[in-house]
């Protein structure tokens, strides 16, 4: 399974803090976004950063994920 986490304003708009997506070989984070974005368009309108396994992604979203990977779709941060 792929664990998808939401925080802050994105979590509020999704109405959940965590979703699990079935894993399949070759699955990429962009595939996961393509599945979830139509279900939660208002939440994904805020998303500007994606993290995989705690690291900000800088690829085009087509690097295959490992089973058990953790993805976070984040809005702009506002700490401090």
């Amino acid at each position: 399974m792929i664990k998808v986490l939401f925080f802050g304003p994105v979590a509020d708009r999704v109405g959940l803090r965590q979703i699990e997506v079935p894993f399949r070989d070759g699955l990429c984070w962009q595939d996961v976004r393509d599945v979830l974005q139509p279900q939660y368009p208002e939440a994904f309108a805020l998303v500007s950063v994606t993290a995989v396994n705690g690291e900000r992604v800088r690829d085009d979203g087509h690097t295959p994920l490992a089973d058990g990977a953790e993805i976070v779709f984040m809005s702009r941060v506002s700490g401090g």
């Binding site: 925080f7 802050g8 705690g54 506002s78 700490g79 401090g80």
Partner: protein
């Protein structure tokens, strides 16, 4: 001694943080501090409390990285960053940043750099709680 970088629910003591920073080196000639506090008024509304949400493992790792980068970039002798999570009341402390260097200029520059970078990079989100409702804060300079 407490860790130099922490995320915590409870308040922190500025005196203890400065004492810990000073204990790391007697070559420190300048210490700059930034203390972020919860305002009771924002965007034309009274604010009672501020709530913080965080992707905690990544936020802590990013703060550690930020501290290491600041030490390298500004030749600091030491630096400390403490950020509170959970809910804080108006007037409470939110974030403490301290930079210690041989001279004042790099300490001051590093302190400013760390809070600016924190606000851009660290996955923490702030929600203002007012008498009439709650709203997530939109980042601004």
């Amino acid at each position: 001694m407490s860790d130099a970088v922490r995320l915590q629910l409870e308040d922190f003591s500025q005196d203890e943080e400065v004492r810990a920073l000073r204990a790391s080196s007697q070559r420190m000639g300048g210490i700059a501090i930034f203390l972020g506090c919860a305002r009771d008024f924002s965007e034309g509304r009274d604010v009672c409390e501020i709530g913080f949400d965080a992707y905690r493992p990544m936020a802590l790792a990013e703060l550690e990285r930020l501290r290491a980068e600041a030490i390298e970039r500004f030749s600091l002798l030491d630096a400390r960053i403490v950020h509170r999570l959970g809910t804080v009341r108006a007037g409470d402390n939110i974030v403490f940043i301290a930079a210690g260097a041989e001279h004042r200029a790099p300490a001051l520059e590093a302190c400013r750099w760390m809070i600016d970078e924190l606000k851009e990079r660290v996955p923490i989100w702030k929600k203002e709680i007012t008498p009439t409702g709650e709203s997530w804060v939109t980042p601004h300079p």
